[in-house]
């Protein structure tokens, strides 16, 4: 019996090639999109899951309340980790790291720059990085040892055994390699190439071990399974607040399973993060698959008159409805199965492209039991959904009526089909509007006035040698004639590394508890970064300019200063004079308002050189000169640089990714809709072929005929627009709420996308109906 179903299904597929190709390509594109999205989602869900005890690992975080603004921070006091371990038996292990920094590793003639973390002893007890060689425990117990990842070890030593080799770090200290761990997987929240233990006998660590005020490190703990985390949160807060000055901070544990997807905090409460995109794209995957299924339903029922006769015959031959249902379901299952095979092929072909687009290393493992399970589900669900309506509809035919030949689908029969088409149109309007809005938002933010000029600005990491030779380097750079200004800063222009309480000034309100970002810079700060000075002047190279600072507009505003230039600010144990006010410089999120900032003049050490190229200078040409100069005065370090505008664009990684993904999947979804519409129009026209012929004989013009056919679809588009505009507005409005700096939704967005859908519909309908409208009526009427 089943064999007979397969046979007839196969012959139907083969005989109606246009129909089958339309159906199969829709389903294949739908399934391919779904699989790609699910691969991405699976990758996102699997972050950090490679640690065997991931469900017991937590990061200690803290909510600090300043003047009613709650700040959620990962930086906690350095001694906290050990105290937690000592005081709470639930805490199995606790460890600390310093967020990491780039270090220079040197072995013989090989010099490489890698990312290293300074970590405390139990680092590899909390996490479980897989040790390939040596002992991690021993390495972390000895401050002169270093742990390298396998690829780092290979870069330094080639195929030689890395254990026991001595490497020079940052050109001043030697460390012995005593363990090698596997490379950190790409889907790990923590990334490093080398681990260095904190040196307990160093002055820095000695001082930090009793410092409960300044926080430069983050703390991770592993709990005994089944620990009551809420209770422990309270205990941690009590313990940490009792140390040092009295405070009222709220400490809490953030579980590892949430690090990747739930990383956003607002007013001290977790507000999600990447998870919203994971959910969004899961929904998009389902919608795309649904659109493909709707196509299948539409086209199958449109063809129903042809199948009606078969249903009638089968019923008179003794078939029960159940058996017909089974037959039509098996047909849709076959479609679903073939589409699945095609889409697996498509995924294999497209994955490299997709990976480079989203910057990931996804791969499809078809032997993975989970994949096989999901694949079966995908096939069965698609087959069932796509086949449901045709199966129920077709099997319900009354044999007496269909065989008499008087069977007419009637007006009502096409209503479900119209509902489905309206649904597709609505989704199309939603997708087009979203794509446009995401693009608008990104462009809006990219075009935001940054308060400085990130173009033609080069950032070069500094070092002890370079700082010593800073004056010479600056002079030689200027002498090349390619550089207009040089400065040095304590942190990059595209980030804030230091938040600090505001300085004191005369007339400061008693209860003012203000937090500002702080940065130190050499002379010519404003000139180099291109910051607009609203008032006062830049740092200058005069002997008198020593204890001076700049404020930004926002700082002046929250400090409520009337005449800031020349004011004295007490910060730490030094007094600074305010010499200039810069415009607001966007350093962190381009979506958020600018934070109050102060820039302190610092002429000695610094982390970065900033080099402003003259207008019209080719960066490549300038770079070769700059490199020569840095090689000369900073020979121990490999020359490294980045363009500030590129650094800034890094801030759009997520939004760019979302933009690309929505473009891609919205485009494909709309394409599937078009396929379905095209198929449906073809059937409508086939059905009305005779009518068109008669009308032509009666004198209808081609234009009138085109209008006649498109009228039907016109109403559907208008209805879809009415339904989808409020829904679309609501969804997009909610999405924009997440950004403080954002575009507004205008009526033109909807007008544009509705017009787009309408235009697309008309083009498709006209292309399909032109043939019928142009046909000689003699042929269409004779065929009766």
């Amino acid at each position: 019996m089943f064999k007979s179903y397969l046979k007839i299904a196969w012959r139907n597929i083969w005989r109606n090639k246009a129909f089958s190709i339309t159906n199969l390509s829709g389903l294949t594109i739908g399934m391919t999109c779904t699989m790609l999205i699910l691969l991405w989602v699976q990758d996102e869900l699997n972050w950090d899951k490679f640690h065997p005890d991931h469900q017991d690992i937590y990061q200690v975080m803290v909510n600090r309340d300043f003047n009613g603004e709650v700040n959620t921070d990962k930086s906690v006091p350095f001694p906290l980790a050990e105290e937690l371990k000592r005081n709470f038996p639930q805490v199995k292990n606790a460890t600390t790291d310093n967020y990491g920094s780039d270090i220079i590793l040197k072995y013989n003639e090989t010099i490489i720059k890698r990312r290293a973390l300074n970590v405390s002893q139990e680092y590899n007890d909390v996490f479980q990085w897989k040790v390939v060689k040596g002992s991690a425990a021993r390495a972390l117990a000895n401050p002169e040892d270093i742990i390298l990842t396998a690829s780092t070890a290979r870069s330094l030593f080639g195929d030689a055994d890395p254990l026991g080799k001595v490497v020079r770090v940052d050109n001043h200290s030697d460390y012995t390699v005593s363990a090698v761990v596997e490379d950190v997987p790409a889907n790990s929240s923590i990334q490093f190439n080398a681990l260095l233990p904190f040196n307990p006998s160093s002055d820095f660590v000695k001082q930090a071990s009793t410092d409960w005020v300044n926080c430069f490190s983050q703390t991770f703990i592993k709990l005994q399974p089944g620990t009551d985390v809420t209770a422990l949160n309270k205990q941690i807060s009590v313990l940490a607040n009792s140390r040092g000055e009295k405070k009222n901070f709220v400490y809490f544990l953030h579980p590892m399973d949430k690090w990747r997807l739930y990383s956003d905090f607002k007013h001290g409460v977790n507000t999600g993060g990447m998870i919203s995109y994971v959910k969004l794209f899961t929904v998009i995957a389902i919608i795309i698959l649904l659109i493909a299924c709707v196509n299948f339903m539409n086209l199958s029922t449109a063809k129903s008159e042809k199948r009606a006769k078969e249903v009638g015959i089968r019923k008179t031959l003794g078939s029960e409805r159940k058996q017909l249902l089974l037959q039509f379901y098996s047909e849709s299952m076959i479609f679903s199965f073939i589409a699945f095979l095609l889409s697996v092929g498509a995924v294999f072909l497209l994955l490299p492209l997709f990976n480079s687009m989203i910057n990931k290393q996804l791969h499809l493992d078809i032997l993975d039991p989970l994949f096989i399970l999901l694949a079966i589900m995908l096939i069965v669900v698609t087959g069932l959904v796509a086949g449901s309506y045709p199966a129920l509809y077709l099997s319900s035919f009354n044999p007496v009526k269909v065989l008499k030949g008087t069977f007419l689908a009637g007006k009502n029969a096409s209503i479900p089909r119209k509902v489905l088409v309206v649904l597709q149109f609505s989704i199309s309007v939603l997708l087009i509007s979203s794509t446009i809005l995401v693009y608008q938002q990104i462009q809006h933010v990219k075009g935001r006035d940054l308060g400085y000029n990130p173009n033609n600005l080069i950032s070069i990491p500094s070092s002890d040698d370079a700082n010593k030779n800073a004056e010479v380097i600056r002079n030689e750079l200027i002498q090349t004639g390619l550089v207009s200004a040089v400065t040095r800063t304590s942190s990059p222009v595209t980030d804030i590394w230091n938040y600090t309480p505001a300085p004191n000034w005369k007339g400061k309100p008693q209860n003012a508890d203000l937090i500002m970002s702080a940065m130190r810079s050499d002379i010519d700060f404003g000139k180099t970064v291109g910051a607009r000075m609203i008032q006062g002047r830049d740092f200058m190279n005069t002997p008198g300019d020593t204890s001076v600072m700049l404020l930004n507009k926002e700082a002046v505003s929250i400090m409520q200063l009337k005449d800031p230039i020349g004011m004295e600010m007490q910060y730490g144990n030094r007094k600074y004079t305010v010499v200039g006010i810069t415009d607001n410089i966007v350093m962190t999120s381009p979506y958020a308002p600018v934070k109050p900032m102060m820039v302190l003049l610092e002429r000695r050490g610094s982390a970065f050189f900033l080099v402003r190229l003259k207008d019209g200078v080719q960066p490549q040409q300038a770079l070769s000169h700059i490199e020569t100069i840095f090689k000369k005065y900073n020979p121990q370090y490999p020359f490294d640089f980045s363009f500030v505008d590129q650094q800034f664009n890094q801030k759009f990684v997520t939004e760019d990714l979302i933009g690309k993904l929505t473009n891609l999947f919205a485009g494909l979804a709309i394409f599937i809709c078009c396929l379905g519409l095209s198929g449906l129009t073809a059937f409508t026209i086939e059905k009305r072929f005779k009518e068109i012929g008669i009308r032509k004989v009666l004198g209808a013009s081609i234009r009138q005929l085109l209008f006649l056919i498109s009228k039907e679809f016109l109403y559907l588009v208008l209805l879809a627009a009415l339904i989808s505009i409020p829904v679309t507005w609501w969804i997009l409005h909610n999405w924009l709420e997440g950004y403080e700096y954002r575009v507004t939704i205008t009526i033109w967005l909807f007008a544009g996308s509705c017009a787009g859908v309408l235009l697309l519909t008309m083009v498709i309908v006209w292309l399909n109906s032109l043939r019928a409208a142009l046909a000689n009526p003699v042929n269409s009427l004779r065929s009766e």
């Binding site: 046979k7 139907n12 008179t316 003794g318 029960e320």
Partner: protein, 230 residues
């Protein structure tokens, strides 16, 4: 074998019932060959469909082999129908996507006949009706007469006790029609299959033992015929 009592069927058109069949009482015994005649719209096909259990009357009772058909559940009725009744249509109604062989096999599929048995039965029939050479062709590759022959073979494959034919020769030329009618007679006489046919043609009706004349949904007359001499 068949006993119809007070069978009526009507539709409501504008609140008033329009009768298609009105108080039909017919008895058909096993082995009979009955023709139903009447002008267009007299209810011939509806009556045939009711006998064939494809359609239900608005009123009346139907005994099939001492079973009250309308007291049976849907499932049992289908069972009764599948086992005993074969249908033949004016427009042949073969499934276009299936070959001759597969078309003939289909009723057996719905009766859960085993594969080997099916093969034997179909081959037997193909032999008997001399269409072995056509078994792999599709309906569109056959002439009308050949298609109707396949339709008849398909109706007979499950060894039904009752064969219902709705204008079986309506789409055929006279020579083909005659061949089909001769075949009907042969089946009736040799296999003892009861046949009820609806026809327009006096000539074809004459093949039957009895002719039931319908007019406006009523039995106008029943004429008994002596067995036709071959």
């Amino acid at each position: 074998m068949i006993q119809l009592q007070h069978i009526s069927k009507w539709y409501n058109v504008g609140g008033k019932p329009t009768f298609i069949l009105k108080d039909i009482n017919i008895k058909i015994t096993e082995g009979e060959f009955v023709s139903i005649m009447g002008p267009s719209g007299s209810g011939k096909t509806t009556l045939l469909n009711i006998i064939g259990m494809l359609d239900l009357p608005s009123e009346g009772s139907y005994q099939f082999f001492d079973q009250a058909v309308y007291d049976l559940r849907e499932k049992h009725r289908t069972e009764l129908y599948k086992k005993n009744i074969g249908f033949i249509f004016q427009a042949y109604h073969l499934i276009d996507e299936l070959t001759v062989y597969e078309n003939i096999e289909t009723p057996l599929l719905y009766q859960d006949v085993k594969s080997s048995e099916r093969k034997a039965m179909v081959s037997d029939m193909l032999d008997k009706f001399n269409i072995v050479g056509k078994k792999d062709l599709f309906p569109s590759q056959l002439s009308g007469g050949q298609q109707q022959l396949v339709g008849i073979v398909r109706a007979l494959i499950a060894k039904p006790k009752l064969l219902l034919a709705d204008e079986p020769t309506g789409n055929l030329n006279s020579k083909q029609g005659e061949e089909i009618m001769d075949l009907f007679q042969k089946i009736n006489e040799e296999e003892g299959v009861t046949i009820v046919q609806v026809t327009h043609s006096e000539k074809n009706a004459d093949y039957g033992h009895r002719i039931i004349n319908l007019l406006d949904g009523r039995v106008e007359s029943i004429s008994e015929k002596p067995l036709k001499q071959v």
